[in-house]
Symmetry: C2
Subunit: 312 residues, 2 copies
């Protein structure tokens, strides 16, 4: 077992192996995790953190890859976190990510990691925040957080990035409906990917009408077009990401995002720590008896929980 | 403000208004919620609980509607819970559900409710479990739990139903990939909906090969075909749902599912209650100071949480 001090220096130098291990520490609740985070905490806040979300099949992975390569060509070091809440059982990445991780592993300036749910309450969003901080501490200039699907985990994740990119494609009306309610309020940029297909104009009209329904904001999210497969529109997207970053700094947006991230992390860590302590205090036998009592309908779950918390 | 005793009797008689109010109580943490749940707890366990999940655009809503109508025609009372984790901000149902709720509201034997995230940790899965129990207590014979998307909330929800139906459609290869990792282990039945389209045979082959990759189970999930829009295959699906229910009872499956549900509810309620108590003990000023300290990078979140829990 290594100590946090052994990881700290290679991590700060940006070594990928140290970074990979540190992320695993955070995911698995390694005893050294919190010391490491405490040591890094004052050094954070340098990286630009960009969330990339949208419907399945919108080409988010390709777009993320192209962004990473173009930023890389501009001299940046880039971290990619692929957030995949569909893997709570297998614990692995989805097939596409595995292939991509193999393909891009050659460039030491790009770090890719799939984040899968580990079963803890609030676990995926919390672990992703930890990983963002570690990439930041390791000197990565931009962290791209790509999410799969539209669940609460993703909403938690994208609420806390600095810039949230929502990716849509022509010809998927239903999917737009599906992401509309949750994501509209957090979108900073819209991208119509596969914009060479029929229907790009219609998607743009739909986005504009959605925007008019959302409550007005100081920042009006621009709508861009890309064909990620051919690398078209990527440089323009990067320009807009920078512009949003400038706007955030000028309008107190970074402090507001920092507060949101602080709240998310505090809430999930408090729930984790408080319930862990309650379990330890009660002991495994009483917890086991409570579970069996609920399953057998001898006691309702609210009463069982109070009993665990109240009885000395 | 009503007391739990005032709601109990109309709820047990199956009155929709009492049911709607009781679900809101559970969602919002009404003071009477836990008394109500404690009174109902011994009476539960009668309803068949069926989860319906799958990709966006697979026709889950139409399939759910058709199941409800056919079960209704067979003399059952049916509850539908549409679990929508995309609505944490707006707090509302997605458009399709709103339309549907209007259309079916005429039949007092069908109760429909959209469950949207309320922001609490583990909130959506917990609130959905509460709503299932309330429908059970109100004498609904079958509860259909339809989920949108593929996030952790849905996995939590479908892990705890008695029978989990995964809906796929021809011609959506990527989407199958997307749901594969998380849902395979909990699928009890596969439905190929819109089976009159080209590619149904290919989807069936893909499902069979996915099944062969999953760890072997005592129950081999059958693959059915439906065209929900025209009502085709619905009676056959209901027969298979019954068969799975019989199998569960014969093989201890109901007790196993009850344990899983007990664990989910205990875990989420313990996290909620333990962190609420910790907050109350610390007081809002210390919590506020901790949040600001994290955001300003004066203290890391792990240390801040320990400080809240440790300091008297």
């Amino acid at each position: 077992m290594s100590a946090a001090t052994d990881l700290l220096e290679p991590l700060r130098r940006g070594e990928a192996r140290a970074l990979g291990r540190a992320i695993s520490w955070m995911e698995n609740g390694h005893p050294g995790a919190r010391d490491l985070m405490a040591s890094l905490w004052p050094h954070l806040g340098r990286a630009a953190v960009v969330g990339i979300t949208g419907s399945p099949g919108a080409g988010k992975s390709t777009l993320t890859d192209q962004l990473a390569r173009t930023l890389r060509a501009q001299g940046q070091r880039v971290g990619i976190l692929a957030v995949d809440p569909t893997s709570p059982f297998s614990g692995g990445a989805i097939l596409g990510d595995r292939i991509r991780m193999g393909r891009c592993a050659a460039d030491p300036g790009i770090f890719i990691r799939s984040m899968a749910t580990r079963g803890a309450l609030g676990g995926l969003a919390r672990a992703t925040q930890d990983a963002i901080d570690l990439l930041d501490a390791a000197g990565y200039d931009t962290v791209l957080v790509e999410t799969v699907g539209v669940g609460q985990d993703e909403v938690d994740v994208v609420s806390c990035v600095q810039t949230c990119v929502v990716v849509l494609v022509p010809g998927m009306g239903d999917e737009i409906q599906a992401i509309k309610a949750g994501i509209m309020e957090v979108a900073d940029l819209f991208v119509i990917n596969k914009a060479d297909r029929d229907g790009a104009d219609q998607v743009e009209r739909e986005i504009e009408s959605m925007k008019s329904l959302a409550h007005p904001r100081d920042w009006d999210p621009p709508v861009l077009r890309t064909v990620a497969q051919r690398g078209e529109g990527i440089v323009g997207l990067i320009d807009q990401l920078r512009e949003h970053g400038v706007w955030l700094r000028a309008h107190g947006g970074l402090a507001r995002k920092a507060r949101e991230r602080a709240r998310l992390r505090f809430d999930s860590l408090l729930a984790e720590a408080a319930s862990r302590r309650a379990r330890e205090k009660a002991g495994p036998e009483r917890v086991e008896a409570a579970l069996q009592g609920i399953a057998d309908r001898l006691v309702d779950p609210y009463t069982a929980v109070d009993d665990i918390l109240d009885r000395p």
